[in-house]
């Protein structure tokens, strides 16, 4: 199986943490809180679309919402495949970082 890309990983985790309240606006906010960057909606939707195609997430249309002029919100939910992909990437992370003790790239003065 192909590994998750960094963007996919970040978005999947955001959806995971949002626990059922994951649609475009909160996903973007969550990402901002997590990594401190504002992503463009285009990137988020594009990645979501790819992951929908790979069956990591499922897109669910809500009941019509008044604030949106009677149209649906589109919520995202992680599928079991998505969960296992996340597990796998964590596995990879921990194993590749395993032996790294003295990372002199950062805070050299410390």
């Amino acid at each position: 199986m192909r590994l998750l890309s960094r963007a996919e990983e970040i978005i999947l985790l955001a959806i995971f943490k949002l626990e059922g309240n994951a649609y475009g606006v909160p996903i973007r906010d969550r990402i901002h809180k997590d990594i401190g960057q504002h992503w463009s909606f285009g990137v988020i939707y594009k990645t979501l679309k790819k992951m929908s195609a790979k069956k990591y997430v499922r897109k669910i249309a809500s009941r019509p919402v008044a604030e949106r002029g009677g149209r649906s919100r589109y919520y995202y939910e992680i599928t079991p495949q998505g969960i296992s992909a996340l597990k796998e990437i964590r596995q990879v992370h921990s194993s590749v970082w395993n032996r790294v003790k003295h990372l002199s790239l950062e805070k050299k003065g410390e």
Binding site: G24, S40, F41, G42, V43, Y45, R68, G69, R71, S72
Partner: protein, 869 residues
């Protein structure tokens, strides 16, 4: 909170264009939600800016997504197209070369037409600027003069409040001798002008003051070129130039005269210089070009009718006694170049007929090139049939295929446009040389023009590619993949029509060229009523005066064995004549009319071999002939209403500059003192030494260098310091036809190119026909057909087409060329042979083109063509 704010329109529309259905709503509603919140919580502009940014940051990504797959297909199409180019180098060359040449022709014609139409449009407020011209009507004649009396401009300014500025320009004194220290030059573009000319027309001052450059007498404004010529790098302002022995102070330098103005200038002297000249208050002379700038909002046509009788208030009584009427009218500045064909234009006017003709020629050539492309593409459809079939099998839509083939023709169109630009770039200097027209390539590089060229290329590509695209995309895969060969015969009828049209156009162009050539040739060789060969002319310019000593000058110049005769005159044929009112004294008063005048000495008539039909020519022995007698020509006899030239003898005329009353002593046969475009008009001739400006030497050209050296040395002795100039009468006279001839040259070039493109198309088609019939030819040969009969068979259909094309082209060409010939008072009959020759020529060229392929096909070994059956 409940009030729903509308999202900013423009980014919303962008999204709408880039996304579809669910994707669109998800995006726009998500950002819409936040937008609504921000509107409530903060300033509106921030919310809008936020919305804008959210959309803008996504646009590049969205566009990339959107065209990614198309791009992939386009890459594939491009690859296929280029492979096809490579595989069929011959066809591709024919396609692109034909197109490129066609477009290049069009571009050149576009430049020419643009240049002609741009005349005098660059002046500021050009729509309010006009020239006033004068129609002089007498009982018998009605003539329009471009220059008017010097009184007109001041009168207009004082009597008519509609006039903002009025200015006069006086160019009539011919070329000028300019002296700067020890160097002498003749300058032709000299004029006197009012200061106000700078307010009426637009001159770009580089140095000096536009407001007062010409207010004082003896001041001069020069063009940049002149400033460079006479002062090189020194500051010309305040310097002086001596022009015809008169010192002028330079008070201004203006940008060089553009090529698209009818009033060309180099040196402009102040009209103040001439203020004491008695002519300046003469209402009856016509020497001053007068330009007006009207106040804004004045209707030109209305005003033109108001001023038509502006002179009557001042000289109406006098005019009435003479029985003539002065009628003035205005010409809008921008219409002068093409639409004013009157007496004493500042330069030969343009001909609007040529603009029409060339626009048509350009269009024709482009059509030929397009037809070629259509023709070849359709004919070669069979080569692409398998590709189309395969594409369809794997799911290509018809629209996609149309898109692909249209794209290919667009590619060809753009490639051709590129080549066309290159061709034009290198052809323009050559064309300018050959035709004497000054076109500039840079005009094509202006953004607006460039954009319309690209638009034009798209249009042409579409026009040429649409039909083949539809034919190709309509193939049925099941049929084509089975390998049925019939596809090439599709649209055979249409192809025939296309070839016929192409050749009809070619034949028309050739007939046009031949007719023009014949007409020009006719004009050059027509006997003009005088001898124009072996005449060496010395113009006396820059104020050389031979009033007193013309006899001794003539004697000096005739002292060489090769000089067989010398005569002096006010002008020579082809160099313009002056015009005066002529009154018949005595019998009937109402026979006053205006006629051309020419002055010469007693040797002119015999030297030029002009025939006398009644009476006698001027004679040296008759002292009274000097300023005391008139000759007239046959046309004048007719204008006076006499049936017999003998009747004219002894009648007395009052005419000429200053006015003299003298008898008519002789009548000459009509001779062409102007070019053959115009009829021979009435002419009055007089022996008037102070007007002499030309010396004519009849010479024996066997020993030309020696003769010239002799004449030059005599000139140096007679007029030291004056540049020696000379020309031959025949070439000078023929130069009157140069403008028309240049047009003829251009026409010839286009004709050649048109025929060339048509032949390219025919070549492609012929080779295609031969290719599709290889098997048939093979079988015929096996069965015993001789080579000759096969060549004949292959050529027969092309011959038929070309003959049909002739049938169409002849009447059309006759119609056009008959109208063109009407421009000339003396013209040829077109004659059947021009038509037959053009037809045969085209047929020969076509057969030659086809024969290469036919013979190749016919001599091929049948074994090769039938091997795979």
């Amino acid at each position: 909170m409940k009030r729903v704010e509308k999202a900013p329109l423009i980014p919303y529309v962008f999204l709408r264009l880039l996304l579809r259905g669910e994707d669109f709503h998800e995006f726009s509603d998500d950002i819409g939600e936040i937008y609504q919140q921000m509107i409530v919580s903060g300033p509106k502009f921030r919310a809008r800016a936020w919305y804008w940014f959210r959309v803008i940051e996504c646009i590049p990504g969205l566009i990339k997504d959107k065209i990614y797959w198309r791009l992939t297909m386009i890459k594939n199409y491009l690859k296929i197209a280029l492979r096809n180019f490579q595989k069929h180098k011959g066809y591709s060359f024919i396609n692109i070369a034909g197109f490129a040449i066609g477009m290049a022709c069009c571009l050149v014609i576009l430049l020419y037409v643009r240049h002609e139409l741009s005349y005098d449009r660059y002046h500021k407020d050009a729509e309010r600027v006009c020239r006033i011209v004068q129609d002089i009507r007498t009982k018998t004649a009605n003539r329009v003069f471009v220059p008017v009396s010097p009184m007109v401009a001041p009168t207009l300014k004082s009597d008519y409040p509609q006039v903002e500025y009025a200015a006069r320009a006086f160019t009539f004194t011919g070329s000028r001798l300019v002296r700067q220290k020890d160097t002498f030059f003749y300058e032709d573009r000299f004029m006197y002008a009012d200061q106000e000319l700078f307010d009426v027309l637009t001159f770009q001052f580089i140095q000096g003051s536009q407001q007062e450059a010409l207010t004082r007498p003896n001041t001069l404004v020069v063009s940049q070129r002149m400033a460079q010529k006479y002062f090189s790098n020194a500051n010309p302002l305040g310097g002086t130039l001596e022009i015809n022995q008169q010192e002028y102070e330079i008070t201004g330098v203006v940008k060089d005269c553009p090529t698209n103005t009818h009033l060309k200038y180099e040196l402009i002297a102040s009209l103040e210089t001439l203020k004491d000249w008695e002519e300046m208050s003469n209402w009856y002379s016509t020497m001053f070009y007068t330009y007006l700038k009207l106040k804004p909002g004045v209707n030109v046509e209305e005003f033109s009718s108001q001023i038509s009788h502006l002179a009557d208030k001042y000289v109406g009584e006098q005019l009435k006694t003479w029985g003539s009427i002065y009628h003035y009218f205005l010409q809008p500045l921008s219409s002068i170049h093409l639409h004013s064909h009157h007496r004493y234009e500042t330069e030969p006017p343009g001909n609007p007929v040529y603009i029409t003709i060339f626009s048509f020629v350009g269009l024709f050539i482009l059509i030929i090139a397009c037809l070629n492309f259509m023709n070849l593409s359709t004919a070669r459809a069979v080569n692409r049939a398998k590709e189309v079939g395969l594409r369809k099998v794997v799911g290509a839509q018809k629209q996609q295929l149309i898109g692909q083939f249209l794209g290919e023709s667009l590619l060809v169109a753009f490639l051709s446009l590129g080549f066309a630009m290159l061709i034009v770039r290198f052809a323009i200097p050559l064309l300018n040389d050959l035709t004497g027209i000054s076109l500039s390539f840079d005009a094509l590089l202006m953004p607006g023009v460039l954009l319309s060229l690209i638009g034009g290329a798209v249009l042409v590509g579409m026009a040429a590619g649409l039909y083949p695209a539809f034919v190709l995309s309509a193939f049925r895969p099941a049929v084509t993949l089975k390998g049925v060969q019939g596809a090439g015969s599709r649209g055979l009828a249409l192809r025939t029509v296309l070839v016929v049209v192409q050749f009809a156009i070619s034949v028309m162009l050739i007939i046009g060229t031949l007719t023009m050539y014949k007409q020009f040739n006719f004009m050059k060789n027509q006997y003009l009523g005088f001898e124009k060969e072996q005449k060496l002319i010395l113009p006396l310019r820059g104020g050389i005066n031979i009033q007193e000593n013309f006899r001794s000058v003539k004697d000096r110049l005739s002292k060489h064995s090769s000089v067989t005769g010398v005569t002096v005159s006010s002008t020579v044929p082809g160099r313009g004549v002056s015009n005066f009112g002529v009154d018949l004294v005595g019998e009937e008063d109402d026979k006053s009319q205006s006629m051309f005048h020419m002055y010469f000495d007693d040797d002119f008539i015999p030297e030029y071999g002009i025939e006398i039909v009644a009476g006698r020519a001027f004679q040296k022995e008759m002292k009274t002939d000097l300023m005391g007698a008139f000759l007239i020509n046959e046309a004048a006899v007719k204008a006076f209403g006499w049936t017999n030239p003998e009747e004219a003898l002894g009648k007395r005329l009052l005419t000429g500059h200053g006015g003299r009353t003298n008898p008519i002593i002789g009548v000459t046969k009509n001779f062409h003192y102007r070019g053959l475009q115009s009829e021979v008009e009435p002419l009055v001739m007089e022996f008037l030494p102070w007007t002499f400006r030309y010396i004519t030497l009849s010479i024996n050209i066997t020993d030309l260098n020696d003769t010239l050296a002799f004449v030059r040395s005599q000139w140096k002795a007679l007029w030291p310091g004056y540049p020696f100039e000379h020309f031959f009468l025949d070439t000078d006279f023929d130069s009157q036809y140069r403008a028309d001839e240049q047009i003829g040259n251009i026409f010839g070039i286009f004709t050649f190119l048109g025929l060339f493109i048509a032949c390219l198309g025919l070549l492609g088609l012929a080779s295609f026909t031969a290719e599709t019939r290889t098997k048939e030819i093979g079988i015929r040969k096996v069965l015993g057909a001789p080579v000759g009969s096969i060549v004949f068979m292959l050529s027969r259909q092309f011959t038929k087409w070309v003959l049909l094309a002739n049938g169409i082209a002849w009447p059309a060409a006759y119609f056009f060329m008959d109208r063109w010939l009407k421009n000339f008072a003396f013209r040829i009959d077109m004659g059947v042979w021009i038509f037959v020759l053009s037809g045969v020529l085209v047929l020969l060229v076509a057969l030659l083109t086809v024969s290469y392929q036919s013979i190749k096909a016919a001599v091929a070994n049948p074994v090769d063509s039938l091997r795979y059956e």
